[in-house]
């Protein structure tokens, strides 16, 4: 199908909306009625047709508007995109990975023509047609990582691998769940995860690191992570927290279904061929609770997950103050019926709401 791109905003008047198509393919992150940290990695080798897992780098109806929002963030704060000097080769690796994947997966939207190192990249949705010399930085308007990630939804952390650890040495981070690339750049895997509660004690990061260090070229992995965001604000950065924090206080029982969003990150992990770096795309999907509960299984389950979530996690994820109001809202969509296992909506087999 051809994607109809939305003209929408993720700030100020917040005109962001999900179509029926986007709601049905939303990456709901809970495979059962409760949640605790886990490594939960699986191979990223496609998925059901039309799902966000199908392509290597999912492109959806929000593409053009998300790229416009990224450009606004970068104009306001160029430190959101940084690359330590030894990471340029990894930037070219990433540019190649995204250009090759998108041109193969979406031939009607993207074209890549290669003649030796002379490359031509056509991005139809964004109206870009650039010819450049692969591995020659002077032939692009930005460094290779910045150039391609201004054209790709989601944040990108590019991790150097050495000393049996991963180092956050480059990234493009404008749609983050409250972490700062500028502060974390140069840190290793354990250091940048330091503020996360409970997970260190559970050994989650040691197991995750072991898994990630062993990711091979051509065998990417993926997992889902989640949090909650008031308003469809992509840039929930710590840098701007003093500006957006107040929005958390604007929820009322009347507007909650429209304003409170579940925020899901599709995290994927790719080994890069020349640099041996690991790229960690973190793709953010937002859905208003009033849209989410149109899938009966998801309404039931989200209520149970949020209700039973340990207090530390609700605090860390930043919605402890609004949890009672969110639960009042979600309780209307939980009739106590059992739910089917797995994350899929199962609209044809799960019963409609019984109240």
């Amino acid at each position: 199908m051809t994607i109809q791109f939305n003209d929408e905003t993720f700030r100020d008047d917040y005109t962001f909306r999900n179509s029926e198509w986007a709601i049905k393919r939303f990456p709901f992150p809970f495979h059962e009625d409760s949640y605790m940290y886990s490594v939960n990695m699986e191979q990223h080798r496609g998925g059901p047709k039309g799902s966000v897992y199908e392509k290597r780098f999912d492109v959806d109806e929000h593409y053009i508007s998300e790229m416009r929002d990224r450009a606004l963030v970068l104009a306001d704060d160029p430190l959101r995109c940084q690359s330590l000097p030894h990471m340029t080769l990894a930037g070219w690796d990433l540019l190649e990975l995204i250009m090759v994947s998108k041109s193969e997966d979406y031939p009607d939207l993207f074209e890549l023509h290669r003649n030796g190192n002379q490359w031509r990249w056509i991005n139809k949705p964004l109206g870009i047609d650039d010819s450049f010399t692969f591995m020659d930085e002077a032939s692009l308007p930005y460094g290779p990582m910045e150039y391609i990630t201004r054209q790709a939804q989601g944040d990108y952390a590019v991790l150097d691998q050495r000393e049996n650890n991963l180092w956050m040495d480059a990234g493009m981070v404008t749609t983050q769940a409250d972490w700062s690339l500028d502060f974390d750049i140069g840190m290793n895997f354990f250091e940048w995860h330091a503020p996360v509660p409970l997970a260190h004690e559970m050994g989650v990061f040691k197991r995750a690191l072991k898994f990630l260090l062993n990711i091979q070229q051509g065998s990417p992995a993926r997992r889902l992570n989640w949090t909650m965001t008031v308003n469809p604000l992509l840039d929930t950065s710590p840098e701007n927290y003093h500006k957006w924090g107040r929005q958390k206080t604007t929820l009322t029982p009347e507007n909650l279904g429209r304003k409170q969003h579940l925020r899901v990150e599709l995290q994927t992990f790719y080994r890069l061929p020349r640099s041996n770096a690991l790229v960690f795309p973190i793709r953010c999907y937002l859905i208003a609770l009033e849209d989410l509960v149109t899938v009966p299984k998801w309404g039931r389950r989200l209520h149970r997950v949020i209700r039973d979530l340990p207090e530390e996690l609700a605090t860390y994820k930043g919605f402890i103050r609004n949890r009672p109001m969110i639960l009042d809202y979600l309780a209307q969509y939980d009739d106590g019926l059992p739910t089917s296992p797995g994350i899929w909506p199962d609209l044809d087999t799960e019963p409609p709401l019984q109240k």
Binding site: L79, S180, F190, E191, H242, W244, K248
Partner: protein, 201 residues
């Protein structure tokens, strides 16, 4: 009492030890304030290393410490008034270090963190750098909003010395910046700022 046992903390927080003499072709010692006492303890156990020692001491006005260090007989002693006044010299001296040089850092977290950063950037292996905390437990904190660094932070929350926001100190430390992260505490409820509490109390 200038020694302080930091409570168990997060994975990104530096851990400090006790300086021990090591065999080396050069001994570069950088200290501030009460950090001088750590160097003097080190030298007391191995007086011979002073013949190859280059000591850079940030006195913060303490003449007593400067005199004791001079009396210990280092090959070179430089006394500077503050870290910013001394950092160019530290960089220059680090350029001249040879393979097998030993680095000793002692004093406040701010001094240790910043000098550690310079040493690593100069290519000194981490294994050749020892640290010992002495003196003030004040922190260096970077405001995540304006990026300004406030030195000598003794309370939580505190006011950013650059932009004036009320910040709490998040338990997150950057070795590159040698600073903790400060985040606005009243973003959700402007003006609702809890009374400052002294760190580690």
């Amino acid at each position: 009492m200038s020694k302080f046992d930091f409570p168990p903390s997060i994975a990104s927080r530096p851990v400090y030890g006790t300086l021990k003499p090591r065999k080396g072709t050069q001994h570069l010692m950088i200290a501030d304030g009460a950090g001088a006492e750590a160097l003097l303890d080190l030298v007391a156990s191995a007086p011979e290393i002073m013949a190859q020692a280059h000591v850079i001491f940030i006195s913060r006005g303490s003449d007593t410490h400067s005199e004791k260090l001079r009396a210990a007989g280092p090959a070179i002693l430089h006394v500077g008034p503050s870290y910013p006044a001394t950092v160019q010299r530290i960089r220059r001296v680090l350029q001249d270090t040879v393979m097998g040089a030993q680095i000793y850092l002692a004093g406040t977290e701010g001094l240790i963190g910043q000098a550690m950063n310079e040493a690593l950037q100069a290519g000194i292996p981490l294994a050749a750098i020892q640290t010992e905390h002495r003196g003030s437990v004040a922190r260096r904190v970077q405001c995540v909003h304006c990026k300004g660094i406030t030195e000598g932070v003794m309370t939580d929350p505190f006011v950013c010395s650059h932009c004036g926001l009320n910040l709490f100190v998040r338990d997150h430390y950057s070795r590159r910046l040698a600073a903790f992260q400060g985040v606005c505490i009243d973003a959700e409820d402007p003006g609702e700022v809890p009374d400052p509490v002294e760190l580690y109390k």
